[in-house]
Amino acid sequence: MKKEIVGMLLAGGEGKRLGLLTKHLAKPAVHFGGKYRIIDFTLSNCSNSKIHTVGVLTQYSPLELNRHIGIGKPWDMDRQRDGLATLSPYTAQDGGSWYKGTADAISQNIHYIDQYDPEYILVISGDHIYQMDYRKMLEQHKETGSEATISVMEVPWDEASRFGILNTRENLEIYEFDEKPANPKNNLASMGIYIFTWASLRNYLIEDMKKEDSSHDFGKDIIPAMLNDDHRMFAYRFDGYWKDVGTVKSYWEANMDLLEEDLSLSLNNREWRTYSHDSHYPPHYVDQDGKVNNSLVTSGSWISGSVNHSVLFERVDIGKGSVVEDSILHPSVSVGSDCTIKRAIIMEETVIPDETVINGEQYDEPVVINQQNIADFNGVKGGR
């Protein structure tokens, strides 16, 4: 069954820098934004861009991730002959191997892609937060007759050395890829979103598999190899909101960003919905002592305390006299009475006893709390 374009979504990374959040959970499955998981954003982008044939490459702690994505129903990808497929490492007659890099994960699934005989292939990651119409990028790819199109965004010049920078001609044709350049020549950073002409990429993947010294990575190996062969490659400019939630700090920031008034990314955008699963919890309740400002609050929650500048997931209880600020509370967190919680990320089902004080303001990164480590962070009330 022929498809013009097939999406390959890399969702197997361990996300080490997210620490506790990814201890038993694949990074794309981490809770985000009050009722979503990180991967919902890219899956919704595919669905809204009408790309319904998507392979999701999983490897690290995939149980919850698999349960979440299922056969893709929330994203309208539960289809008979195409739709969503979960591609995990497997064995074959010549043995099996784990996915060794982003490119290797795709290479090991060439037979999956070949089923659809696509013209193009979209390679994306399951750990970025953004809303983007891939069709527009595909249109540019076709118009320019590129072998590869890489989505880029402008970053401040003084931060450019932290990114993979694409050096382009005026027409956005790429002539060089600079990974974290000391003296950047440009400020267009790669967002890790690629469209390739499949026939061309396929050859590079097969070549790359043979190279023993390759790290089998798109940025480090495939793109440089293609540039080296003088292939026609273009950058695609993206102006909207984009965030890699790779660290606890950036994860926290991205959640807090959702509370901004004029963010270009909006969960309330009815033209570009973010899809996920919905629960059967009742509407949340704010009682006569509750106070909520500048926050997201979700079904099943019960607010008797004060919540400010925070993101609360489903079924969160905030006891009387408690104050929650600058924090993210995952599903089924229960905060007792007279607690103070600042700049903290509280993980699923943590029960916080009365009068607990957790103040993340004293640390560089927001603190991540679960039932096991809560005692380590519990300060003395009034001691802030």
Binding site: S276, S279, H280, P283, H284, L296
Partner: protein, 368 residues
């Protein structure tokens, strides 16, 4: 355990909700922020392990079909069993059945194809979060023909008046049905009946040109039937008028009531949606209220129920009100004792005030 099949029969329920039921049947009336009345009964059945449920609908059944859809949200989208929404569509010229007997007669297949030996039958106007297991156990233990679930109420409220009352002996056997206002043992319209008996009574009702299965087939046959009364003592509501609809929405805002209905037992299931979390802005002020996902609140909300996707602008005030899906209340508007149906748009500066006894009602899609 012998299995139980379900039937929600709304044939004899009228559309009591004035403007709110011009285009939907009573069972499809939105309630408590994200539900429809029928969700409570349907969830109770599913939560009790019933996995085949038929719905006998009357007119305006599109609202029910749209809401229940495939039944997937109630885990009833099954290849075998699941949900059967049965609107009135009959074409047998030789059919002489009347009233709800037409449903029973034309949908006999539903009863025959199941292996269940008992049927739990309910309307949509009795609301509780209950499981039928205990009533069913009792039904089997006592080998009753029919087991009626009754609610012993403390105070008789206006919404109880249309409900039958039940007299029973010390062993729970029903000795009489009445509408005696002094009798506080109120019938919930939920009952369990042996399937064979049901089919027999259906035949008998049809043969004698009857038109109401419960009244004619069961109540009037009391002398010949062994009918048990099973008392349910949890939190309950009867919704059968605008007044009871509004009052029970308000009453649910008492924390104890809210918790009894929603957190004491299983969750009540409803149609799922894609709404994001509620967004509270800088100046929002909300208290004693329930808010469904998708709302954006910048103004003041007190003692109110906000359904999905309601927008409350800056300096707008909503008190003692029920605001349904996707309503927009603009800057400076003031609403008190108001029911807004879906998609109502209240312009900037408007003031709408009803009374507690007779709330102000705005029908779907109005601009005020």
């Amino acid at each position: 355990m012998k299995e139980l099949m379900g039937l929600i029969n709304i044939e004899h329920e009228h559309d009591f909700l004035e403007e709110l039921t011009y285009f939907r049947c009573g069972a499809a009336t939105p309630f408590a922020g994200r539900y429809r009345l029928i969700d409570f009964t349907l969830s109770n059945m599913v939560n009790s392990g019933v996995d085949e449920v038929a719905v006998f609908t009357n007119h305006k059944y599109r609202s029910i079909m749209d809401h229940l859809s495939t039944g997937a949200d109630w885990e009833l989208a099954r290849r075998h069993g699941g949900i059967f929404i049965l609107p009135p569509d009959w074409n047998d010229p030789s059919d002489i059945s009347k009233g709800d007997l037409r449903h029973f007669h034309n949908n006999r297949d539903y009863f025959h194809r199941s292996t269940a030996e008992h049927v739990v039958i309910s309307g949509s106007q009795f609301l509780a979060n209950m499981k039928y297991e205990r009533a069913f156990e009792r039904h089997l233990e006592t080998d009753a023909d029919v087991t009626c679930i009754t609610v012993p109420v403390e105070n008789v409220l206006p919404e109880h008046s249309p409900q039958l009352r039940i007299n029973e002996d010390e062993n729970g056997w029903v000795t009489g049905f009445s509408n005696d206002p002094e009798n506080k043992n109120v019938f919930s319209n939920v009952y369990i009946i042996k399937k064979d008996l049901l089919l027999k009574l259906v035949d008998q009702c049809i043969a004698y040109h009857k038109d109401h299965f419960f009244m004619d087939g069961i109540k009037d046959n009391l002398p010949d039937l062994a009918i048990q009364s099973f008392h349910y003592r949890g939190y309950t509501m009867f919704i059968n008028s605008v007044e009871s609809f509004y009052r029970n929405n308000m009453s649910l805002l008492e924390p104890d009531h809210f918790k009894s209905l929603f957190f004491k037992n299983h969750y009540i299931r409803t149609k799922t949606s894609n709404e994001p979390p509620v967004k509270y802005k800088e100046d929002s002020s909300v208290s004693s209220s329930m808010l469904a996902n998708g709302c954006v609140v910048e103004g003041e909300v007190q003692d109110s129920v906000l359904f999905r996707g309601v927008n409350v602008a800056k300096n707008a005030t909503i008190k003692n009100s029920v605001i349904m899906q996707r309503c927009k209340v603009e800057e400076g508007a003031y609403l008190e004792n108001v029911i807004l149906d879906k998609d109502v748009h209240v312009s900037s500066g408007q003031k709408l005030i009803g009374s507690k006894e007779k709330p102000f009602i705005a029908a779907k899609r109005q601009r005020i």
